[in-house]
Amino acid sequence: MTENEMLGASRILSRRLTQLTGGASSSLPAETAETALRSILYTAERGKASAGKAPAGGAAAGGTQEVAAVSADDFEARYDRGLELVKRDLSEAKKLLTRLRVCRFKTRNIAFNDTLDHGAVEFFGAYDPYFAAHEPCGIIDYPLAVPVSDERGAYGALMYLRGFEAENRFLCMFDPACVDALMQKNSPEFADDLVNLASPVMQSAACLALMGKSPASLSVSPVLAEEFSLRALKLPRDAFAAQFTAAMDALISTRGFPATTRDYLATAAEQIARDIYDTLAASGSAFVQV
């Protein structure tokens, strides 16, 4: 950090701490000041990372738009830009959560529902863009098929909810009773477990599609599973992943999903395909649920 940047950060911190105490105290516990400083550094980093580009058009669009570039050396300008983005992330994430709660997939899985009904709501209720912008959304339980790489702050929450939305859209393509039966088969306690729903559904759906069957039932017979396994292992790993991903793509191609959803599902499909292949290669020819 340059001396100029350090001075800029110091000035912002002074302002924030004065705001925090309402001007009634000129000192605070070092721990509180450190949290505020981490928040400032995170926000400025967010502003720096966005220089030239920023997410735009609402959570569903997931595109980017040009934003006014800020000088890399002007810490306060970077912070102001970052704060603007943090607030925008927060607003988009809240809208996305509202939408997800209305059109959620019907499941008995508690983590899935609690994340929408409580976890995310509590995160937004406690989130403070001024003093703890960097805090991770640690109260969210439901594990995504593709974990969010940066879980910090409103941006982490937005990325998480975009992944959640993609999985929700995918799950809504299937009869909840079929998903329930599949999950029950994999894990009888799935309603109470912290398990991802999309991965096994994607695995069964792609398997059925690749074997020329309708994926709607999600029901893979032992004979079909065996045949699928043998066929898969005849291919190199990358070729199998490509076939699996293409089957998934074909499955969702007529749904008119936005690019963020398609990209997320493609990433998930590729990851799941490789996991399946590795499991098959390690355990012989048995078809193993992820």
């Binding site: 001075l7 950060a9 911190l13 009634a24 000129s26 000192s27 516990p29 070092a30």
Partner: protein
């Protein structure tokens, strides 16, 4: 991270020295003044107190406010002025930490002044009394108004604070 927090303190240091020296104009009316060396020493000791109490200060400190609040006390003389301010400053940061942010700077300084005069200039008494009679009840959930009522009752009973 700690470098950054030190930078915050350093930012206020020059301003604080100027403010402390400027406060001599006020305290001179009561025959009290700090030399620049005294002021620098007190500000250096402030850093130590902040570290000891795990606190960060910005935009200067409270030394100039202590000077103004205590200047007209009949229990401070020029001969012990710098030492008394040092003890008061140490007491302030100790009490501020113990307050768990429930008392603002001005309230704390006023309570210290009251105890200081009541004890005819004992900083040890200030520490004990403010901690026992002001801060502990606040931490237990008593409001400022309830504390003021207690103070009035204590005054009637002849207590010092």
């Amino acid at each position: 991270m700690s470098n950054m927090l030190e930078a915050i303190g350093a930012q206020g240091r020059a301003r604080e020295l100027a403010r402390v020296i400027a406060a001599n104009d006020y305290s001179a009316k009561y025959g009290l003044a700090l030399t620049e060396a005294d002021a620098e020493k007190l500000l250096m000791l402030r850093e130590r107190e902040l570290n000891t109490n795990g606190r960060v200060e910005w935009d200067g400190g409270v030394l100039d406010r202590l000077i103004v609040e205590f200047a007209d006390s009949p229990f401070i003389s020029q001969s012990s002025y710098a030492d008394t301010l040092e003890a008061l400053q140490t007491a302030f940061y100790m009490l501020k930490s113990e307050s768990m942010e429930l008392m603002d700077d001005d309230e704390l300084i006023a309570a210290m002044r009251q105890a200081f005069d009541a004890s005819e200039g004992s900083v040890d008494y200030v520490e004990e009394t403010v901690a026992a009679k002001r801060l502990r009840p606040l931490r237990m959930g008593f409001s400022d108004d309830e504390l003021d009522e207690d103070d009035e009752e204590d005054d009637e009973d002849g207590d010092l604070l």
